[in-house]
């Protein structure tokens, strides 16, 4: 269940970015999951729900975008999209295609509530 490790990396990365931008809360987190990573979305979501406890992200929903696989044939150069792991060129049947997309997992975006610039500079301690 590598989803747990990935969820921890996701929360760490998202919280660091949110704080760097002066966020006081997080409305949502979006992650892009390439199909070839073998990540199970439901397991990632459950892991995320546990990993956000006590962080700035607590309560922010996780939006998961599954990314299809895109690969280029070394023989005929045709680029195709795939929904499975068997990457055979549909045009010429060659295997060993070069993966262009779909083998990575990205923190894609953050929806933040950010303190106004002067507020954060002043420490936000006035009423």
């Amino acid at each position: 269940m590598h989803e747990w490790s990935l969820a921890c990396a996701l929360v760490r990365s998202a919280e660091e970015e949110a704080r760097r931008r002066g966020a006081i809360s997080v409305h949502a987190v979006t992650v892009s999951v390439g199909f070839l990573t073998g990540v199970v979305p439901e397991l990632l979501r459950r892991s995320y729900d546990m990993a956000v406890a006590g962080t700035l992200l607590e309560g922010a929903p996780l939006l998961i975008r599954m990314e299809p696989v895109s690969a280029r044939c070394p023989a005929c150069k045709k680029e195709s999209t795939f929904e499975g792991f068997a990457l055979l060129c549909p045009a010429c049947g060659t295997s060993g295609l070069e993966v262009v997309a779909g083998d990575e997992i990205f923190l894609r975006g953050l929806d933040l509530e950010v303190a106004d610039e002067n507020e954060s500079e002043a420490g936000g301690d006035h009423v």
Binding site: G38, S95, D111
Partner: protein
């Protein structure tokens, strides 16, 4: 500064006391688009590992498979055939116990046992820490035995030069297509326990065919660590790859 009343400015600039009762949070919503690779830290560590191995002239090999498919036995069989020609060290990865590490130590080989606790795979940072427990100057070949798991180790680059997947004939000939992730970054595939083929229903061609579809150019070996059948080809592969690496 609040746009409604100027609070945040000195009192004289506001022309008042600074008291205000209008509703405002002094915050705004911001949608940020990022493309931050969550495996980036691991990939950076893996690159450093690879450079480190290269500096020492060490061929590093990551062995992945489900539990019980014969990774440790393959290492033992390899050790018996290599020792005079290549100096081998081993990093063992397991959730718990040092049993595998003890087996390798019993052969007189340098070994470091990583126990991951609850983590289902080795990552590049764990390998980095472990490699510095080994006498790198005295090694030519480093075998990293990953945690027994046919899924999760597949997406973690350890910085090894070769990634290999093992499947034993007792696990069933349908497993390759069922567990495709580990094959994506593999350079070789080893069908193990072939001495048991007469006793099981197993079409040896099926996993080989399916593995080659998942990864073009995959090298395939059929070995028995018990009888030694097929081991010569595997030993030769390790030696050839080491020679190619050091030029």
């Amino acid at each position: 500064m609040c746009e409604h009343c100027g609070c945040g400015l000195p009192d004289e600039a506001k022309g008042g006391t600074g008291n205000h009762d209008h509703p405002h949070d002094h915050t705004h919503r911001e949608e940020v688009v990022l493309y931050r690779n969550l495996l980036e830290a691991n990939e950076r560590n893996a690159r450093e590992n690879r450079e480190h191995f290269l500096e020492h002239g060490i061929l590093a090999v990551n062995l992945m498979s489900g539990p019980g498919s014969g990774k440790t036995s393959l290492i033992e069989a390899l050790a018996g055939r290599l020792s005079m020609r290549l100096r081998m060290g081993v990093i063992e990865g397991d959730l718990a116990t040092d049993r595998d590490g003890a087996r390798i130590a019993a052969l007189g080989l340098p070994v470091w046992q990583v126990t991951t606790g609850s983590t289902c795979h080795l990552d590049a940072a764990m390998v980095h820490e472990a490699m510095h427990r080994l006498p790198l100057h005295d090694l030519d070949l480093l075998i990293v035995e990953n945690v027994g798991n046919l899924v999760c180790p597949g997406i973690y680059d350890l910085g090894c030069h070769l990634n290999g997947v093992l499947l034993s004939v007792t696990e069933g000939d349908d497993k390759v297509a069922k567990y495709p992730v580990v094959f994506r970054n593999a350079q070789f595939f080893c069908l193990t326990k072939t001495d048991l083929l007469p006793h099981v229903t197993f079409d040896a061609e099926r996993p080989k065919r399916e593995a080659r579809i998942l990864k073009g150019g995959l090298k395939v070996f059929e070995c028995s660590s018990i009888t030694g059948e097929g081991m010569d080809a595997f030993v030769k592969y390790m030696e050839t790859e080491r020679e190619a690496m050091v030029g």
